[in-house]
């Protein structure tokens, strides 16, 4: 076989798998590193987050995937001694440049957490509209419309529309997590970060959330951290694989369209991981 043939075959294969990054890009990461008190936790991550797609961050624990995710909406600002370097662009703006107030940034980049965390003192309704209220919305008609709209988007409306005054604690874990998704969607973010959103849920609730994620990407760009490779394969379009380097800092091993990464990864370490040899 001559070299031309090999190139041709590779080209054919690349064509079969559409790279979502060929479309519009929501966020760009350029050499992003995160350090805590001078100790590197994530080093030199560079990839693009395609708009209206699901990007999964996978890797064994300690690979810095959650740390990386939290740098995308500046949650590390809260931690003294945390330092994010490199460039993270939302559209054309560097989110750490000072051009966007962190408050505004976080209403444009929402987040859903590992464990469902509805505000315990608020009713379901108040939970959903809390973000709008934080952002200064007072008009009841808008709040009502937004509550219904985002609850519908989170596939929770039919289940709770008759008891919006109840507290979050009356919901099941899966419902609570969908409430949190509705709460995040209500502020109309451009990007939604999800930090292992199903790790505290049972299989059925997990399945519902996964279906929801697939539906939501038409509306919002999603970046999801998951320790569950099947989940990444099921829901995501692009996958970034991180691994802990020698100095215990997470490094980016491979970023590829999900189908490709799980079928024919370029890096042998990716193959080892998806075949369950470590992590």
């Amino acid at each position: 076989m001559n070299e031309n043939m090999v190139n041709m075959m590779n080209a054919l294969e690349d064509q079969a798998i559409v790279d979502p990054r060929s479309g519009p890009i929501a966020m760009r990461l350029n050499n992003v590193s995160v350090a805590f008190n001078g100790r590197m936790a994530v080093r030199d991550v560079t990839f693009d987050v395609p708009a209206n797609n699901v990007t999964a961050l996978i890797g064994p624990s300690g690979s810095g995937k959650t740390t990386l995710l939290r740098s995308l909406n500046r949650l590390h600002d809260l931690t003294k001694g945390a330092k994010v370097t490199g460039e993270i662009l939302l559209g054309d703006e560097d989110i750490y440049s000072g051009g966007i107030a962190p408050t505004v940034l976080r209403s444009r980049i929402g987040m859903v957490f590992q464990r469902p965390n509805p505000f315990p003192t608020m009713s379901l309704y108040d939970n959903v509209v809390s973000g709008l209220r934080f952002n200064g919305v007072k008009k009841k008609s808008i709040l009502d419309a937004a509550a219904e709209e985002s609850l519908r988007a989170a596939a929770l409306w039919d289940e709770i529309k008759d008891r919006l005054k109840a507290h979050g604690s009356t919901l099941s874990g899966g419902q609570q997590q969908r409430l949190c998704i509705a709460r995040a969607l209500a502020v109309e973010p451009e990007v939604l970060l999800m930090d292992e959103p199903t790790s505290a849920l049972d299989p059925i609730a997990t399945q519902k959330i996964e279906e929801l994620i697939s539906q939501l990407k038409a509306r919002v760009t999603i970046v999801i951290v998951t320790h569950n490779m099947q989940q990444a394969a099921r829901v995501s379009d692009l996958t970034a694989f991180l691994l802990m380097g020698e100095d215990r800092a997470g490094e980016q091993i491979e970023v590829a369209p999900t189908l490709k990464l799980f079928s024919q990864p370029d890096d042998p370490r990716t193959m080892d991981y998806i075949q369950g040899r470590f992590g």
Binding site: N73, L75, L78, K80, T103, V104, R106, S107, I109, G110, M111, F113, R115, N117, F119, P120, T121, M122, S130, G131, R133, F134, N135, H167, G168, S169, T170, C180, R183, A184, V187, L193
Partner: protein, 327 residues
Amino acid sequence: MVVAANSSQTAAGAEGRRPSASARGAYEWTLLVVASLFGIVSVWFVGTIIWQSVSTFQSQGLYLLTGVNWVPGAGTGQPSQYGGRAMIIGTIETSLIAMVIAVVIGTGTALAINFFVPQKMKTFVATVVELLAAVPSVVYGVWGMLVLAPWFLNTIGPFLSSLPGGTAVLGTTVAGKSLLLAGIVLAIMVLPTYVAISREVIGAVPHELVEASLSLGATRWQTLWRTVIPTARIGLFGATSLSLGRAIGETVAVSLVCGGSVGTTFKPLEPGVTIAGWIATQWGEAVGSDQIGALFALGAILMVVSLAMSMFSRRLVAQQRRAAAVV
């Protein structure tokens, strides 16, 4: 077999499943008898204070609550007059002043310790706060009397009086010692206690809620005010009621700085009295006369109020906690 059955229960359950007297050994009897002894002491405590005040309640009636004169009749041939209005209002006024200051500054301090003070200093600050909570109240009183009172007399008092309407509302200070000063000394005294508790309950608010709130575009203050404080409200209420209890019942610190005169105007800059402080200052001259009963009667009022408050807040906290426990 019984043991095996018990072992699958929780400890409390295991104890609860042995109600029959026959199962009680020396150990169980000792516990029960000593606990009953404590029960008896507490009933005796309430009974003694009520018993000693009965004669005053009978002779003074409602005058004890509303009367303005405190005139022992011994040796004058006149009937004694024991009106507690000044003490009751003084107690309320000083406690209110103290609580407003302590809750506002204390909550701000607790928030700052939890969210703004560098991690390394937190333990240090927390230890210092807890140590300060152990400083005896008489020390606060002495400091208030020897340091704050002169300062009040020469600087703060005249300044406050010179404000528009200051004299009309606040009055004029004559010795520095006043209800306002007493309230401030009380606030300084209860602050460490309030901060120690509220720091802990605010620290117990799950960090995930803080992050959720920020991730919705809330500012730092919106997060503290609309998420953290509401979530911690049960504990903050507990801290408030405990501090209020201390303020209402404080004796020596107040009696050294309140001025000690039975007034009728209750302007903050003028001297006044509180129930506990009055008991302490009158005690020496009251022993052996019917005034002792009147002081006991004041003590009974204090007891009823503080016990009722403590029971009420316990119940409210328990209720809230049960409601929150559904989470």
